[in-house]
């Protein structure tokens, strides 16, 4: 039995000047669990993901990975701890090809005197394998600037999955995808979970959160307002929790 949660968030708060983006946020993410995180604009969803992925530092509170307290001080630390993130705006270098983007910051190299010489062929083979495994049919040599929004999102997802992370944070991953592509993505996310990853899934599209999540956390004005069971809740109840008002 795995006693410790994959990640435990305890009393996280974050302010930007006078604005309190997060206030005393607490939750746990279990192994192979998918948490759906929903909330209105400026509820603090992206800030929370950025803290977990090392892009921001919390003002207060602690994070535990597998029961150990960690200080996720930068994105490299997060990646080394097995945390990957898929951003809404992809965060890809448009001037580089698909392979270079998948390996960006974690290139395969060999020490060659004073320089780290890239192992370009090795990276290409590995990138191709990842895309094939995920069922993505793309030319790994294509420059990202030549890809459609959906294809760029695909590359961002492939990048997150390539290193087989223990935890994936997905920030509006379907924002640029067509309806058909959304269905495919949701299936892939479920498969990734079956392979052992835990996922925090943020989306404005509430039906897809209901479909994919094991639990739904509602963030309102920087606080966890409620935890809902996707099997018993519905869109109306979620929206009511998000806004704090009753809807007829």
């Amino acid at each position: 039995m795995e006693a410790d949660a994959r990640i435990k968030i305890e009393g996280i708060s974050k302010s930007f000047g006078p604005i309190k983006a997060l206030r005393d946020v607490n939750f746990e993410l279990g192994h192979k669990e998918i948490i759906g995180l929903v909330g209105d604009n400026a509820a603090g969803k992206s800030t929370l993901l950025k803290i977990i992925s090392g892009a921001y530092q919390q003002d207060e509170g602690s994070i535990y990975i597998e029961g150990n307290k960690v200080d996720i001080k930068n994105p490299i630390y997060a990646q080394k701890s097995g945390i990957e993130i898929v951003y809404q705006d992809f965060m890809l270098a448009p001037n580089l090809d698909i392979t270079a983007n998948i390996f960006l910051g974690r290139e395969i190299y060999k020490n060659w005197g004073f320089m780290r010489k890239l192992e370009k062929d090795k990276m290409k083979i590995n990138a191709k394998k990842t895309l094939e495994k995920l069922g993505f049919d793309m030319d790994i040599n294509s420059n990202v600037s030549n890809l459609s929004g959906g294809q760029q999102q695909t590359v961002a997802i492939a990048r997150a999955l390539h290193f087989e992370p223990a935890m994936i944070l997905m920030d509006e991953p379907t924002a640029s995808l067509s309806l058909g592509a959304v269905e495919e993505l949701l299936e892939r996310v479920k498969k990734v979970r079956e392979h052992g990853a835990s996922i925090i899934y943020v989306s404005h599209r509430i039906p897809e959160v209901i479909e994919i999540a094991d639990r739904i956390l509602v963030l309102r004005r920087g606080k966890i307002a409620n935890e809902l069971d996707p099997k018993t809740t519905n869109v109306t109840e979620i929206v009511k929790n998000m806004t704090g008002t009753s809807i007829n």
């Binding site: 892009a55 965060m91 270098a93 448009p94 001037n95 580089l96 190299y109 780290r116």
Partner: protein, 330 residues
């Protein structure tokens, strides 16, 4: 005679080379300039003239290679000509006045270039001052430093008694009838090109030029890399200053005038847009050679060298036209 379809095939091949190959634009520009120049002067295609072009291009290639890494990451370095000029002055003084061993003078001047580059990088990165402003400061400030330490006059062997020639003049000499300066410049360009295209750091420089925030989020140390490119630029500018000083047999605070903009023009001609992220160092070397050819043909045609700037400006605007708007406006 070539048939229509064959002609179309050749046209398509050239267009493909121009648009798809990373060396396409600078190579075709060079060919175009060479063809035009060969019609303009019968002396253009002579060995002696080719040698003159390469010697003229040598300091510009070195300055261009240095500044190319800065532009690759989406910044600019206007101060390189002042670094070069002041380096030449310091080198000449250390050599002629203090009579230091050449290797020691050389080391001191290169350290000066590293220091200037590091300082510029720190100001840009830590104080968030735009590189344009900081390097405009080094442009004027280091000219001033050169003027102060030289008293505003050229430092030449005849400034001192007893007369002693510059000890490093061999840098502007010949080995087996081949001029040393172009050999050094081309070797530097090939080495930096290899490093940038094959190393992890080179990949990171391209990524920073393409999407700085995305690069940072993937764990690339953007600040460290930005300081690194200014150090390279400062070091190569100092080295170019030593070469210029050897070539002119003097250290002069107003040497290398106009080289900053010419080097940046070489970078653009070489296919690196101001927004960064694209292009090659070899392309920049070709760009520097194009500018040297323009300067050369103006001399060969007996036109006033004052026209040089105007012609370079026209070529630069033409080069700018072929860069995608998306690449320029960041």
């Amino acid at each position: 005679m070539l048939g229509g379809s064959k002609l179309n095939k050749i046209k398509n091949k050239i267009m493909n080379f121009y648009t798809e190959n990373q060396y396409g634009k600078p190579v075709l520009f060079l060919l175009l300039v060479v063809i035009i120049c060969s019609f303009l002067s019968e002396h253009f295609f002579t060995l002696g003239n080719l040698e003159a072009v390469l010697i003229t291009a040598a300091p510009l290639i070195i300055l261009g290679v240095g500044v190319s890494l800065v532009v690759l990451t989406g910044m600019i370095d206007l101060g390189i000509e002042a670094v070069a000029a002041s380096s030449g002055v310091i080198m000449a003084i250390l050599d002629l006045s203090f009579r230091l061993p050449t290797a020691l003078s050389f080391t001191i001047v290169i350290l000066y270039g590293i220091l200037v580059g590091a300082l510029v990088g720190l100001l840009v990165v830590k104080f968030r001052i735009p590189s344009f402003i900081v390097t405009l400061g080094t442009y004027w400030g280091l000219r001033g430093v050169g003027m102060l330490i030289s008293g505003g006059v050229p430092i030449t062997p005849s400034s001192f008694t007893p007369y002693n020639p510059i000890s490093y003049s061999w840098l502007a000499g010949y080995v087996y009838d081949i001029p040393v300066m172009p050999i050094i410049a081309i070797a530097i360009a090939i080495f930096v090109h290899f490093y940038v295209s094959q190393s992890q750091r080179g990949r990171h420089l391209y990524a920073i030029g393409g999407h700085e925030i995305a690069a940072g989020i993937r764990g690339i140390n953007v600040e460290k890399n930005k300081i690194f490119v200014f150090i390279v630029s400062g070091t190569l500018a100092a080295f170019a200053g030593i070469l210029l000083s050897a070539w002119l047999s003097e250290g002069y605070a107003w040497a290398a005038k106009g080289y900053s903009l010419e080097a940046i023009a070489a970078v653009v001609l070489g296919g690196i847009p101001f927004a960064g992220g694209h292009g090659t160092v070899i392309g920049v070397m070709i760009g520097a050679i194009i500018i040297a050819i323009i300067s050369d043909i103006i001399t060969l045609m007996g036109v006033s060298p004052l026209y040089n700037y105007i012609v370079v400006a026209i070529v630069l605007v033409l080069a700018g036209l072929q860069i995608n708007k998306r690449d320029v406006v960041k």
